[in-house]
């Protein structure tokens, strides 16, 4: 179910000329951003780290707009009601959508690295290459689960896309995707620690330039599982509220 559903949604998402253009252009922008910000420090590893961080920002954008946008898209297409009519727990219906957004986000991560290599000659030598791959997979799964939690708010609100815009940059910053969280004010610390994105970014950074990868991966996975559980419960609650408040359809 998960596989078929995810594939169907990936196909639907990836076939839009608009999406494809964005997917091509944004990683270039991200890569450029990363490079110019970090060129000040002349270590190659810092540059790679920056590229990875920028790539992760791309994945987060994909998940955020994907999960929130996906729900809104389903509403606009008239398919939200049809999928919610399935005799299944809502989480099993929505999860393929959010995982699909994580998958299409992978492209953003890889493209950023590729553009970094092609345009700016950033050498892609990771300290722990195998761990990097694993961390990347875990990151994408984590973001998919986090997207699930977000999706539940989007099911309830008719104009969920307004919320997505507000969440993009704060999460980038607080998770330390590009800028280390040590430079942020102290109160963001606990907030950052709760987000799977923080741990995912950390795992990727450690895989890139050295450090204990596996603990970060474990914490990331742990928080993801929590997101899955809360997301599942939240979706069930929200689906019922949406049926009471008539927000599954546009009209």
């Amino acid at each position: 179910m998960l596989a078929l559903g995810t594939l169907a949604h990936v196909k639907q998402m990836s076939r839009s000329p608009f999406e494809v253009t964005i997917a091509l252009v944004v990683p270039i922008v991200q890569a450029t951003l990363a490079v110019y910000l970090f060129r000040a420090g002349h270590e190659q590893h810092r540059l790679l780290q920056a590229a990875v961080g920028a790539g992760l920002m791309g994945v987060w954008s994909s998940v955020l707009f994907g999960s929130g946008g996906a729900i809104q898209n389903q509403r606009w297409q008239g398919t939200l009601e049809m999928i919610m009519l399935a005799p299944r727990r809502p989480v099993l219906v929505i999860l393929p959508i959010t995982v699909a957004t994580g998958l299409t986000g992978t492209y953003a991560l890889l493209a950023t690295l590729a553009w970094g290599r092609i345009l700016y000659g950033i050498r892609l030598d990771f300290v722990h290459p195998f761990a990097f791959v694993v961390a990347a997979v875990v990151c994408i799964v984590a973001l998919g689960m986090f997207g699930l939690l977000l999706a539940s708010t989007f099911v309830l609100m008719r104009n969920a896309n307004a919320l997505t815009n507000a969440l993009e940059y704060p999460i980038w910053l607080v998770s330390g995707m590009l800028v280390p969280i040590t430079v942020l004010p102290a109160w963001t610390g606990p907030l950052a620690a709760m987000l799977p994105t923080t741990w995912g970014a950390r795992a990727l950074r450690e895989a890139t330039s050295g450090g204990p990868v596996w603990p970060s991966v474990a914490v990331c996975l742990g928080i993801s599982v929590l997101c899955l559980i809360f997301g599942s419960l939240s979706l069930t609650y929200v689906e019922r509220r949406a049926r009471a408040a008539a927000t599954l359809a546009l009209a």
Binding site: M1, A8, R15, A86, R88
Partner: protein
């Protein structure tokens, strides 16, 4: 379980609450459905007929678990729609008219595969069932094309195939032939008729009289959120019993004439329909009153086309019922 009735609605009510205004928000409340009760037997083809805004779609959505009733209850196949939602969803299919509701960038086949999986069709059964349904709705051979290239009629047929994937006991059709050309609509009606004959209970909402008359075993006329009349098409036609209908095609009917006619004793309804260059004036009167003379007098000097005097049809009965609401 083991209920004779496929659908039982009891005092269903639905209010929509909203907010208007930005500086000083006001709460608005629209009572779309105001106490609807009816039952549909297994295997029956039941029609819900009514003008736009009558509450048809709201009623059907309460029955198919997409909306929670504000009050009242409903049971489908013996299961409560609010308390046993998943049980109900396993047994129902929902088809609605229009362009939306399908994944445009996927092929028809991909759409069906996805929904088959989603609605719990056994994996072994999926391929066979999809092929069977494509054949049934006449889309075999076109299933690998993207839905964005389908015509309205083809989309409608795919909708129906999708609604039947999991062999539901009850099928809800919400205005299925809206925007569909007459030939395709006829095909659709035949498919729906065959389904009902095969034992599926069908609840159909429509505002096409001919469709309801042709297909339905029983019809409920809903207007203003309430059921105004319920019965077989023959029974409903009796609402216009004891009447005669005079139809006059005229080129330019003055409003004064219509008002004058409406004021005549024995005249029940008057209606004007624009048909291109001419208008069709319909006057319903008591059977013993001959209004034809009065009509021709009011329309003196105006070029006339056909003048026809006939028995009332279901449409006339419907107009009478709805106008009385």
């Amino acid at each position: 379980m083991g209920s004779d009735y496929a659908i039982e609605a009891d005092g269903l009510r639905r209010t929509y609450r909203g907010r208007t205004g930005w500086l000083r928000p006001r709460r608005t409340e629209v009572e779309a459905v105001r106490g609807v009760s009816f039952s549909v037997r297994r295997g029956e083809l039941f029609g819900l007929l009514g003008p736009n805004g009558a509450g048809k779609t709201t009623t059907i959505k309460m029955l198919n678990t997409l909306l929670l009733p504000t009050s009242g209850s409903a049971r489908v196949c013996g299961h409560d729609v609010v308390e046993q939602t998943r049980e109900v969803r396993r047994r129902i299919g929902y088809v609605f008219g229009g362009d939306r509701g399908l994944y445009d960038r996927l092929s028809g086949l991909d759409n069906l595969r996805y929904f088959a999986e989603l609605y719990g069709v056994a994996p072994r059964e999926q391929k066979r069932r999809i092929a069977e349904l494509l054949e049934l709705v006449g889309l075999a051979g076109r299933e690998r094309e993207r839905v964005e290239g389908y015509s309205r009629g083809m989309r409608q047929r795919l909708h129906i195939a999708r609604g039947l994937l999991h062999s539901p006991e009850v099928l809800f059709l919400d205005e299925p032939s809206i925007g569909v050309d007459p030939v395709a609509a006829r095909e659709l009606r035949r498919t729906v008729g065959d389904l009902a004959a095969a034992g599926t209970t069908v609840l159909l909402t429509t505002h096409y009289m001919a469709e309801a008359d042709e297909l339905c075993d029983r019809i409920a006329v809903i207007a203003d959120g309430q059921i105004q009349a319920l019965g077989t098409p023959a029974e409903l036609r009796h609402h216009a019993d004891g009447r005669r209908v005079v139809e006059v095609e005229a080129y330019g009917v003055p409003d004064a004439a219509v008002s004058a006619l409406r004021g005549l004793p024995g005249v029940r309804e008057t209606a004007i329909e624009e048909r291109g260059a001419l208008q069709l004036l319909t006057v319903q009167s008591d059977a013993h009153v001959d209004v034809q003379g009065d009509i021709l007098r009011e329309l003196a000097g105006i070029r006339l086309g056909r003048v026809n005097s006939r028995e009332p049809t279901l449409e006339d009965a419907y107009v009478a019922i709805v106008n009385a609401a």
